[in-house]
């Protein structure tokens, strides 16, 4: 066994050796430092090796061979080994990072750094409380000194404030220990823990003082003003040390003290942790200084860890699970936070606004992204698993307050972190090129990233089978990232091949019924649209990897079997789509709103899933869902979560902007494919919630009204858009409203109508979006009134849009009519007459925006600036051609789609025998409604009645002069300017006069209000940080006092 004393000894010797060797050479002293750090790290690693592979049960070492209380016990088990390894490795990396600074500022700093490491190691290893106090002092004093490394005024002031706070904590601790010793008679934690000391008031107060000392050191909100100042003003390398090493060591000792504490302290501590987590995150919302922002995040994460360590005991959780959760959170935070501090040092920009210079540094950007996403708790990083477990526990045991606080806090944290990320990634900034990177400083964050991924895989595999659900999307991301230097077309075709093979051989055989349908929509639909992305000239770094990740996770969504698999895949999908939206030109705001709504939805889904019974692995989630039934709360949570993804009214706020700002081709995927994931989820919820819904009619009624209002208001808002993509975005929202409406009927016909529309919407909306992508590419604008007359330049795109709008509007003979027929018949059949009426109104309004779309873009007056516009690139035409063929096919032979849908639905809801197919004729003979639709015959008749007049016209109209755009009768005048002759801008002004009042943006105003309100609250909270050391001390006093009173310790 490796003797832990070595760890302490090495640092001690190093610290004393440094001044001597420094006389010879500064590099020598640095060498000593690196050696000590590396050596200790390797010792810890060796210890880990021992623990795993040789049978080393013995963990305690007693100094000088005596038993306690005479000697000091050091423990070197798995936890300590892992922790010391990380601490020392981080120390080493910090050393590397700080190399230049340390070299300049002299030998004192080097030995102080070693002392700091000594303190941290000691604090982790020791089992003696007084010894812990000593090491804490060493750690703290070394920290004060290091803060002063950056000899700026505010850094020194911050160090002093820290000293004051630390002094207070130390005093508390010392007094506490002294008092406690009177009751326990021992300082050894193990011995102490075994004693059964009666909980008298005096003993409790002593214990309270001890624990509060550590709580203060853990920087709880609001008694953490000093810590924030430290984070803000210290050198970023030092900040990273404080955030990781210092906090880690103190937290671990805090953990070691917990067994001594009376049971009644635990909820108190848990509460402080939660408060700290929630409010720190809230306060951080307003923060613009990067270092201080990280400080807030750090205190918040520490608060969460405090909660996990102290709060989860209440819920009868196995201690190893608590450790797993805490470890996941801790290590993510540990690495990511140090990484971010390091990056902050490299960037040298104080405000988060300025971080857009990262855009020019792809490597830094990737690192930054990894750290941010890890902190946000997105998969595959450990924090994700930890959060998953926490929510599982809390939801199942009914810890609603904690659950709400944690999810809310996480959302707030995601808000500011991702806003920061967005600022860094945004493209419309014009920052100058930065100077060359300090490569030495790059090493630590790089290693941190690798470590983070290693840990992710480790944690993923430790508790869960490392399944394809995690493996495929990540592998796809990795492989295509490696291939990212290849030409775009090659990458794209490779991706198509990969998805094709995977989909055909791996996914498809495992799907059946409804899964096959969604497989076609999600994988097939996405696959066809991949071609559209390939028209770009450049390499389009990052596009194909993310697309690969997205499509693989979409496929996994279908084959996922357990709840975790499902949620993991869901988050992968959200993550990759978020990053893809970020690729848009000025999309950072839209992407932020997308990810926040998505995360909010994901948290609701997470909670909902947690309330569900466990799903067995092996069988696909959607198939198992037929056997389960879930409760009311779960239904509502899951339902809202999935509705957010589909963009239902009320939570649609993210939708128009995200659709408008994403890259044109990706908007197509977003609308036609990704929203269907939400539909899929919603369908599963309805399947599982059958019993609840049967008992509670109100829910379904509400859902159907929600659907029809989504359809109606989506259509109405689309009418008044000038931006072609926003128009289409609202149109998508409207169409999804019909889908929701169909599902809400909970009847066979209703579900058939919903699924039918799911299918056809994929075809026609992708068709339109792809065509419009070509138009925007060629014209360079999204405003419809700036286009016009493009039919002559882009005839194929025109045909696509024409087919698309005929299908969207539901005009026979194209397949769109089927969806209308199904929805109305199913609505009337179920007695939802008024919904049917409103749905009809909505579908009539669709004509307005569709005509506007096609007229203002393709018809009317061509603009001289678009004289030389060419047809869309070949790659964009491919998906259009495929979709046109599909639409024509299913319009002529609707049976190929309606029959499979019906049989798929009949697994869940039995097909009534009054619904029958005779040839291509669908007959409805329900006792309450008769009707029929023969798509094939309609198509043939239409062809006939169209062809006949055409022939006549061709025959009779021999002498037709082809004229140009200005050869119009213009009240005996001639037009002068095409752009004023084109009737396009504000096309439906009269409609706005009549019905515009309906769509004053109340909902957007509400969400803006939420944002505004939370920012104001954050501002109010941040006022407590005055920057005055005395005030901070007062805060600490008050804080302890309040905790004492609230805790009711007696």
């Amino acid at each position: 066994m490796v003797n832990p004393l070595y760890l302490i000894a090495v640092f001690l010797i190093g610290a004393f050796l440094v001044p001597f060797v420094d006389r010879a050479d500064r590099r020598l002293s640095l060498g000593v430092m690196y050696f000590s750090l590396l050596y200790t790290a390797s010792l810890s690693l060796m210890r880990l090796w021992q623990l795993f592979f040789t049978n080393g049960n013995e963990t305690q070492v007693f100094t000088a061979g005596f038993q306690p209380p005479l000697s000091i016990a050091l423990s070197f088990g798995f936890k300590e080994a892992l922790l010391t390894f990380l601490v020392n490795l981080t120390g080493f990396l910090s050393g590397v990072y700080l190399a230049k600074k340390l070299g300049k500022s002299g030998v004192q700093s080097i030995s102080i750094l070693l002392l700091l490491m000594l303190g941290a190691n000691g604090l982790i290893l020791t089992r003696d409380i007084f010894n812990g106090f000593v090491f804490l002092e060493i750690l703290s004093i070394a920290t004060y000194a290091l803060i002063g490394l950056k000899s700026k005024k505010n850094a020194l002031a911050a160090g002093f404030k820290y000293m004051m706070a630390g002094g207070l904590a130390s005093a508390l601790l010392l007094i506490g220990i002294a008092f406690a010793y009177r009751y326990s008679g021992t300082l050894n934690l193990d011995t102490w823990g075994r004693l059964l000391i009666p909980m008298t008031l005096g003993y409790k107060i002593a214990l309270f003082m001890i624990i509060m000392a550590f709580v203060i050191e853990l920087k709880p909100f609001p008694a953490n003003g000093w810590a924030l100042d430290v984070y803000q003003s210290a050198h970023s390398g030092v900040s990273s040390l404080i955030a990781s090493v210092h906090t880690g060591a103190v937290l671990y000792f805090f953990y070691k003290l917990l067994p001594l504490m009376p049971y009644e302290f635990l909820p108190l501590l848990a509460g402080t942790g939660l408060v700290s987590f929630l409010l720190s995150n809230l306060t951080a919302l307003r923060q613009k200084n990067a270092a201080r922002l990280l400080g807030y995040s750090s205190t918040a994460q520490t608060g969460l860890l405090m909660f996990v360590l102290t709060g989860l005991y209440r819920y009868n959780v196995h201690p190893s699970l608590v450790l797993f959760i805490a470890g996941g959170l801790f290590f993510t935070n540990f690495i990511a936070k140090s990484g971010l501090f390091w990056l902050a040092g490299i960037i040298k920009e104080k405000t988060t606004e300025k971080w857009s210079i990262l855009r020019k540094q792809p490597l830094l950007l990737v690192l930054f992204g990894v750290f941010i996403l890890a902190l946000t708790g997105l998969p595959p990083f450990p924090a994700f698993f930890a959060k998953w477990e926490i929510i599982q526990i809390l939801a199942q045991q009914g810890g609603w307050v904690a659950l709400t606080a944690i999810l809310l806090g996480s959302l707030l944290e995601a808000a500011y972190l991702l806003r920061w990320f967005g600022l860094a990634v945004r493209q419309n900034s014009d920052e100058p090129e930065t100077a060359s990177l300090p490569y030495l400083k790059l090493i630590p964050p790089l290693i941190g990233t690798i470590l983070l991924f290693a840990l992710s895989l480790f944690m993923g595999s430790q508790l869960y089978v490392l399944s394809e659900f995690m493996y495929f999307p990540l592998l796809a991301l990795l492989v295509f990232s490696i291939l990212d230097c290849c030409p775009l077309k090659l990458k794209g075709l490779l991706l198509v091949a990969a998805i094709g093979l995977w989909g055909w051989f791996s996914v498809w055989p495992r799907l059946m019924g409804i899964g096959q349908l969604f497989g076609l929509v999600l994988i097939g639909g996405a696959l066809v649209q991949v071609f559209g992305f390939l028209h770009h000239k450049g390499r389009e770094a990052g596009l194909i990897p993310l697309l690969a990740m997205l499509i693989f996770s979409l496929g996994n969504l279908l084959t996922a079997s357990t709840k975790l698999d499902f949620f993991l895949t869901w988050e992968f999908m959200t993550l990759s789509s978020y990053l893809l939206i970020m690729r848009g030109k000025s999309s950072h705001k839209a992407a932020l709103s997308y990810i926040l709504f998505s995360l909010g939805g994901a948290y609701l889904i997470l909670t909902g899933l947690s309330l569900m019974p466990p799903f067995s692995p092996g069988m696909a989630f959607y198939l198992q869902s037929g056997f389960h039934s879930i409760g009311l709360v779960s239904t509502i949570l899951l339902g809202i979560g999935f509705l957010i993804k589909t963009g239902a009214l009320g939570v649609h706020v993210w939708l128009p902007d995200a659709y408008a700002e994403a890259e044109n081709e990706f908007t197509s995927v977003l609308s036609s494919v990704l929203s269907k994931a939400g539909v899929f989820g919603l369908l599963l919820v309805l399947v599982m919630a059958k019993d609840v819904l049967a008992a509670n009619n109100l829910l379904l009624d509400a859902l159907s009204w929600l659907g029809v209002f989504t359809a109606f208001f989506g259509a109405l808002m689309a009418v008044f858009q000038e931006d072609v993509k926003k128009l289409l975005a609202y149109s998508s929202m409207s169409q999804l409203g019909y889908i929701i409406l169909g599902f809400a009927l909970m009847s066979h016909l209703g579900w058939v109508s919903g699924l039918y529309l799911t299918f056809t919407h994929l075809f026609f909306k992708a068709l339109i979006f792809m065509a419009i992508a070509g138009v925007i590419l060629r014209t360079g604008t999204r405003n419809m009134y700036e286009m016009g007359g493009l039919i002559k330049k882009m005839p194929i795109s025109y045909i696509s849009v024409l087919m698309g709008i005929i299908a969207v509007s539901g005009v026979p003979p194209l397949s769109g009519f089927g969806s209308k027929w199904f929805i109305y018949t199913s609505l009337i059949e179920q007695g939802h007459y008024f919904q049917a009426g409103l749905a009809f109104f909505a579908s009539a309004i669709a004509f307005l925006y569709l005509y506007r779309l096609i007229h203002t873009v393709f018809l009317g007056q061509p603009k001289p600036s678009q004289q030389n516009v060419k047809e869309a690139p070949f790659w964009l035409i491919i998906p259009q051609a495929i979709f046109i063929m599909v639409i024509m096919g299913i319009s002529l032979f609707p049976n190929y789609i309606t029959k499979p849908i019906s049989s798929a639905v009949s697994i869940f809801i039995e097909k009534p025998d009054w619904l029958s197919w005779t040839g291509y004729n669908i007959t409805l003979n329900s006792p309450v409604l008769h009707g029929n639709w023969n798509g094939n015959l309609v198509m043939l008749v239409t062809m006939g009645v169209f062809g006949f007049p055409l022939l006549w016209l061709l025959l009779i109209n021999a002498r037709t002069q082809k004229v140009k755009q200005f050869n119009i009768v213009f009240a005996a005048e001639r037009p002068y300017k095409p752009w004023t002759t084109h009737f396009a801008h504000n096309m439906f002004a009269h409609y706005n006069k009549a019905l515009g009042w309906l769509i004053t943006p109340r909902i957007t105003a509400f969400w803006n209000g939420v944002t505004e309100w939370s920012h104001s609250l954050a501002a109010a909270f941040s006022h407590i940080y005055t920057g005055n050391g005395q005030t901070y001390l007062l805060h600490i006093f008050m804080y302890i006092l309040v905790i004492f009173i609230v805790g009711g310790i007696r």
Partner: protein
């Protein structure tokens, strides 16, 4: 030269021969080829916006069919009224209950594309002439022109005006003139009846005349219309 019918004041022939018809055509060198026009007065950008095809005479259909067509044309005269002067006021009584031209199958039409009779009501100034030419050319053939009022015939009381065209038939072919200052609605209707006779007799071929003598008409038009900022033929 007696081109007025002595009793009705209506021209005897379908088309008054344009004078002076010396047979000299304007220089044709500037034309791109026989089928296109140069539209030389337009800027290069504007030339892209206008059709530059040259009008060509349209052959009538096979005899009996053309007779049938002419019957239909004569009984379905859709009027494009150009109220250039005081004669414009005469169209109103025509469509009201007292005279009611709709019983003859006639109706006013607001767009030249759909009209077959161009009714010029009064004196024609240069500025108006430009609009008249444009509207006339935008009508689809066969098309007929009825010019009402003395001013339209010879300038009338504006005979010495610096800005009034004295003879419209030099600029567009006119089928029927109606004299009077102003003519009574009965006279206008008599003019229309005469037009019907001409159409039925197959003599109202103003459109073809215009196409055949296009260069002459165009030269006449351009002679008085100085700021010619439109294509040579307004399709």
């Amino acid at each position: 030269m007696s081109y007025m019918d002595k009793t009705t004041g209506i021209p005897e022939q379908g088309i008054t021969p344009p004078i002076p018809d010396t047979g000299e055509m304007p220089d044709r060198e500037w034309r791109k080829d026989d089928k296109t026009l140069t539209n030389a007065e337009l800027t290069l950008e504007e030339q892209d916006w206008f059709c530059d095809a040259r009008p060509t005479p349209a052959k009538p259909a096979w005899g009996p069919v053309e007779k049938f067509y002419n019957w239909a044309r004569a009984n379905s005269l859709w009027i494009l009224a150009f109220g250039t002067g005081c004669g414009a006021i005469e169209l109103r009584p025509l469509v009201t209950a007292r005279y009611d031209i709709s019983r003859l199958g006639m109706q006013p039409r607001p767009t030249p594309r759909q009209a077959s009779v161009f009714m010029i009501g009064g004196y024609v100034s240069i500025k108006t002439l430009k609009r008249i030419v444009r509207s006339y050319e935008q009508m689809q053939g066969p098309k007929f022109v009825v010019a009402v009022c003395s001013c339209a015939i010879n300038g009338g009381m504006y005979w010495d005006s610096y800005n009034t065209v004295k003879r419209i038939d030099q600029y567009i072919p006119v089928d029927v003139y109606v004299t009077g200052c102003m003519p009574r609605p009965e006279a206008v209707m008599a003019g229309f009846s005469k037009l019907k006779e001409l159409i039925l007799a197959g003599k109202a071929e103003g459109q073809n005349l215009y196409a055949e003598k296009f260069d002459w008409y165009k030269a006449n038009q351009k002679q008085v219309i100085k700021d010619w900022n439109m294509p040579d033929y307004n399709w």
